[in-house]
Amino acid sequence: EEMKSQERLFLSSLGLSGRPRPAGGHQPRRRVPSALWRMFRRSENMQAQESDPCTVSEYGVRGNIIRYVQDQGRLVSGWSSSCQVCLEKQLFFNMSVLQPVELLSLAQLEIKFHWKPFRSAELLQGPRALSVSLYKVIRATLRGANPQANRRLLLSQSVRLQPEPSSITMDLTSLAESWRKPGRNYGLVLELLPLSVDPEELLPFHPGNSLPLEPALTLPLIQASLVAVSLNPHQCRSRQRR
């Protein structure tokens, strides 16, 4: 018991409410993003004198904690949206993982597209494009209500689909800050519409998480993460003057 209480005390001085219990078990562990590994290695190789552990030079902001917050949103099929040929994906980042004392310096959304054409015809037709629209959800939608009315467009751009992964990044710091307040996080909606494809060729998406078996275009695998940089002021003194 004494060991446990000492451990709690020590973990709290490390800014942790308790010993983290990751899912583990039979679930495969989430891969460490390569950018985080690079930052970790760089901090290891840096001389103590030249490093400032409370500045994240990669992003140019103050902070001592960098989190890759996982997306917990689900894939929504076209039936619930006004667009029958779109792919809709909810994005949800649980910002309550940040402790109240932490000051959020940066929240950067990164959406990666991995497109693996499985039909040679798709490759022969050359790179395709997707129209990508990102909305913030401002309130929960009641059943039967038009979901569009509860959204605000944040970003609209097209992405060329190539066998090489492509990505979109966007600064969402102020929005992510608002998500920290309880009951204020309704997440985002990502809408994808294949471009330069005859609408006749497109099949509507079916309810549930499954994609149609024979879409006119093999859709990319979408991975979204939110890089959140925060500063725990208790763990970062101001730098001493020489």
């Binding site: 983290p20 990751p22 562990r29 985080l36 901090s43 989190r67 996982q70 993982v97």
Partner: protein, 113 residues
């Protein structure tokens, strides 16, 4: 008339090597990297007179002087870390998010009185 115990070079205040392996404290299931780190610790005496190598503060110099006059009433100054450096830790949180965190003052680089 104070009795001074002889201070040999081995028991004067200095940084001693201590490797902390996260396995030893049962943290290997959530810490991704590093597996451990050279934490070190300070140990040893701060004898009178304080030599320059012991990095004594002005306060410690006076305290050793008073201690030499009144060893029972005034303790010797403590041997404490005077220069620490940070480490970085990669770990999983309760939501399986990967977190990189920098902690100040984790490695004892230098000790003094």
């Amino acid at each position: 008339s104070a009795i001074h115990l002889p201070v040999t070079p081995s028991n004067v205040c200095k940084a001693r090597r201590l490797y902390i392996d996260f396995k030893d404290v049962g943290w290997q299931d959530w810490i991704i990297a590093p597996q451990g780190y050279m934490a070190n610790y300070c140990h040893g005496e701060c004898p009178f007179p304080l030599s320059e190598s012991l990095n004594g503060t002005n306060h410690a110099i006076l305290q050793t002087l008073v201690h030499s006059l009144d060893p029972h009433g005034t303790p010797q100054p403590c041997c404490v870390p005077i220069r620490l450096s940070p480490i970085s830790m990669l770990y999983y949180d309760n939501n399986d998010n990967v977190v990189l965190r920098h902690y100040q003052d984790m490695v004892v680089d230098e000790c003094g009185c």
